[in-house]
C-alpha cells in the first residue's frame, strides 16, 4: 500500500513538474517576445528610406566629386544604399518566425494545434523566409549591377576603376539571374514553380574547365 502511494506521489510530483515547466517556458517565451517588441519598435520602411537616401546621395556625390578617393567613397555609399534597400525588402517580406509563434501562443481562441496545422505554419514560414531572402538578393544584385554599369559607362570614372565596375556589374548580373530563377523546395511547394535555373561548374580534364547554367522551364 505504502509502495503504491509512493509511486503515486512520485508521478504526481513529476507531472506537476512537467506542467509547471511547460507553463513556465510558454510564459518565458511570451515575455521575451514582448520585451523584444518593445525594444525593436521601428518603422518597417526605415531600411528602404535610409537605403534610398544613401543611393541618391551616393549618385549625386559620385557625379559631383573630382577626387578619385571621394568617388570611391561615394561608390561605397551607393553600394551600402542598395544593400540596405535589399535588407528593407527582406524585412518587409520576411515572415518573422518569433512573431508567428508568438501569435500562435497568444491566440486565445485556439487551445491545441493539430500536427497538420503546425506543419502548415512551419512550411509557410520556411517558404516565405526563402522567398524574402531570394527577392532581397535579386533586387539588390540587379540594382548593384545597374549601378556599377552606370559608374563604368555613363559617369566619368578612371580607366582602371571602370574595368573593376564592369567586373562587379557582371558578377551581380549572374547573382541576379540565379536568384531570379532559382527557388528553394519549400518556396516551390508553397508558391508554385514556374521556372528554374541551376548553375554548374566542372573540370573535364586538366585543361578544360566548364561553367554555365542550365535553364529549365516547367509548364
Amino acid at each position: 500500500m505504502m509502495r503504491h502511494f509512493g509511486r503515486f506521489l512520485f508521478f504526481s510530483v513529476f507531472l506537476m513538474g512537467v506542467t509547471f515547466a511547460r507553463n513556465e517556458s510558454t510564459r518565458f517565451y511570451i515575455e521575451q517576445n514582448r520585451k523584444a517588441e518593445n525594444i525593436f519598435q521601428y518603422n518597417s520602411y526605415e531600411n528602404i528610406i535610409s537605403g534610398g537616401a544613401a543611393f541618391l546621395i551616393g549618385n549625386i556625390g559620385y557625379v559631383l566629386s573630382d577626387s578619385g578617393f571621394l568617388k570611391l567613397s561615394y561608390a561605397a555609399i551607393q553600394t551600402i544604399g542598395i544593400i540596405n534597400i535589399g535588407q528593407g525588402i527582406y524585412k518587409l517580406k520576411s515572415p518573422n518566425v518569433d512573431a508567428s509563434f508568438y501569435r500562435m501562443l497568444t491566440d486565445n481562441r485556439i487551445k491545441y494545434y493539430s500536427k497538420e496545422a503546425i506543419a502548415d505554419r512551419l512550411l509557410e514560414i520556411l517558404a516565405k523566409e526563402e522567398r524574402a531572402k531570394r527577392l532581397s538578393l535579386l533586387y539588390s544584385s540587379a540594382f548593384l549591377a545597374t549601378q556599377y554599369f552606370l559608374n563604368a559607362t555613363v559617369y566619368a570614372s578612371e580607366d582602371k576603376v571602370e574595368n573593376i565596375y564592369m567586373f562587379l556589374g557582371g558578377i551581380n548580373v549572374i547573382i541576379a539571374i540565379y536568384m531570379g530563377l532559382y527557388k528553394d523546395d519549400s518556396e516551390k511547394f508553397y508558391f508554385g514553380d514556374d521556372y528554374d535555373i541551376s548553375p554548374f561548374a566542372y573540370q573535364e580534364d586538366k585543361n578544360n574547365f566548364s561553367t554555365g547554367a542550365i535553364l529549365t522551364f516547367r509548364f
Binding site: 518603422n43 528610406i49 537616401a53 578617393f69 571621394l70 567613397s73 555609399i77
Partner: protein, 373 residues
C-alpha cells in the same frame, strides 16, 4: 591688521589670475586645434566632439566613457577616419612615410601656408563589461610656412599609438515627480607611445642639411586616463548633462620655450583638458534628433575659450544619419550610412585649425569607414 593681510593676499591671488590670463597666449605661441582627436572617429569629428550627451550610438563611448552603460553592441570593430580631400592624402603620406625634401615642402605650400593632415585608426573589442581598443596610428602632420621673405617652416609630426581600456556603470537612479534622473560614470585608461617632432627650420636648411638630421623623431611613453560623468533624464524639460576630464596625467604638454615663437602647440589633443556638455534627444516616428553643446576648458576647468564652444546636431533614421556642428572656427556637415557589417561617412568641413591666426577658413573633406566583425 588682519584685514590688511587678507586684502594683500586677495590682491596677490587676483594679480596671479590676471597675469595667468594675460600671459596665457605666450605659453602657447601657435595654438592649433584639430577636430579628429585621439580615440575619435568619423562621427565625433562631424560633431566637432560635441557629443558627450548622445547616448546609444556606436560612437557614444568615444565621446564620453560615462555613456558606456547605454551602449548595447558587442563584438569587434575596425575603424579608420581621416582627411580625404584633394592632395591631403598624398601630402600626408609623403610627409609621414617619405623623407622631407625641399621639393616636397614647396609642393605642399603651393596653394596655402598652413597644411594639415590627420588620420586615426583603431581596432575595438567590446563586451558588456568593458571595451578594449588599440589604435596603431593616430597620425598628425601640421606644416605652417611663415616669413615668406625668408621662408621658414614650423613642422609638427606626430604618431600616437595607444591601447585603451574603457568601462562605465550606472551609479544612481533618482525617480522624482517630474522625471527620472539617472547618473552614470565611466573611465578610460590608456597606455600610449607618442612619437613626435615639433620644430622650426628654414627652407635653406633643407638644402644644406640632410632631412634626417633636421627632423629627429622623439618618443615618449606613459599612461593617461579620461573620466566622465553623465546625468540623464526621461523628460524634455531637463537637458542631459555631462562633465569630463580628458588626458589626466598627461606628460605630453607643450614643451616649447617662449623663445621659439612659431613652434606649434596642439590644444585639446594630448594635453589635460575638461569639458561640460549639455544636450537633448527627441524621438519621433520618423527618426531621432540629438542636439548638443560642448564647452571645453584648459586643464581642470581652468580657462574657457568661447571660440572653442561647439554646437552640434544629429538626425538619424534607420541606417542613415545626418550630422552637423558649428562653432567659430569649425563648421561641418556629415552624412553617415550604415549597413550590417560596413559603415561609411563623409563630412564636408570649413575649418580654421589655427583659430584667429588663420586668415580664412579652409575647405576640407573627411571620410570614415567602420568594419564590424
Amino acid at each position: 591688521m588682519i584685514k590688511k593681510i587678507i586684502y594683500m593676499n586677495l590682491s596677490k591671488i587676483f594679480l596671479t589670475i590676471v597675469s595667468l590670463l594675460c600671459f596665457y597666449n605666450n605659453a602657447f605661441p601657435l595654438a592649433i586645434t584639430h577636430q579628429l582627436r585621439p580615440n575619435g572617429n568619423f562621427d565625433t569629428l562631424a560633431l566637432s566632439n560635441a557629443c558627450s550627451t548622445i547616448v546609444g550610438t556606436s560612437f557614444s563611448v568615444r565621446c564620453n566613457p560615462a555613456l558606456f552603460p547605454y551602449s548595447k553592441g558587442e563584438g569587434v570593430l575596425i575603424s579608420a577616419s581621416g582627411k580625404s580631400d584633394g592632395d591631403s592624402i598624398d601630402n600626408g603620406r609623403d610627409l609621414i612615410f617619405s623623407p622631407i625634401t625641399e621639393e616636397l615642402i614647396r609642393k605642399i605650400f603651393q596653394q596655402k601656408n598652413f597644411n594639415t593632415f590627420t588620420l586615426n585608426s583603431d581596432f575595438a573589442f567590446k563586451t558588456s563589461v568593458l571595451e578594449i581598443s588599440y589604435s596603431p596610428y593616430y597620425l598628425l602632420a601640421d606644416l605652417y610656412l611663415f616669413n615668406p621673405a625668408f621662408p621658414e617652416v614650423s613642422l609638427n609630426l606626430i604618431n600616437h599609438e595607444s591601447l585603451r581600456l574603457t568601462s562605465g556603470l550606472e551609479v544612481l537612479q533618482l525617480p522624482t515627480a517630474v522625471a527620472k534622473f539617472i547618473f552614470s560614470a565611466g573611465a578610460s585608461v590608456y597606455y600610449f607611445e607618442h612619437s613626435y617632432e615639433n620644430t622650426v627650420f628654414s627652407l635653406f636648411d633643407l638644402t644644406t642639411t640632410r632631412p634626417e638630421n633636421l627632423i629627429k623623431m622623439k618618443s615618449r611613453y606613459g599612461v593617461g586616463a579620461d573620466v566622465g560623468f553623465f546625468l540623464d533624464n526621461n523628460s524634455l524639460l531637463f537637458p542631459k548633462l555631462s562633465l569630463q576630464i580628458k588626458n589626466i596625467n598627461s606628460t605630453l604638454e607643450d614643451d616649447s620655450s617662449e623663445n621659439e615663437a612659431i613652434i606649434q602647440a596642439p590644444q585639446f589633443l594630448f594635453d589635460t583638458y575638461s569639458t561640460i556638455g549639455i544636450g537633448e534627444k527627441f524621438q519621433t516616428a520618423y527618426g531621432r534628433f540629438d542636439l548638443s553643446c560642448e564647452i571645453p576648458f584648459s586643464d581642470y576647468f581652468f580657462l574657457v575659450s568661447p571660440a572653442q564652444i561647439m554646437f552640434s546636431g544629429r538626425y538619424s533614421i534607420g541606417l542613415f544619419s545626418v550630422l552637423g556642428s558649428a562653432g567659430k572656427y569649425y563648421q561641418n556637415v556629415g552624412l553617415r550610412f550604415d549597413s550590417k557589417n560596413f559603415n561609411i561617412g563623409i563630412t564636408y568641413s570649413r575649418e580654421a585649425d589655427m583659430g584667429a591666426e588663420q586668415a580664412s577658413m579652409e575647405q576640407a573633406v573627411y571620410t570614415g569607414v567602420d568594419i564590424i566583425l
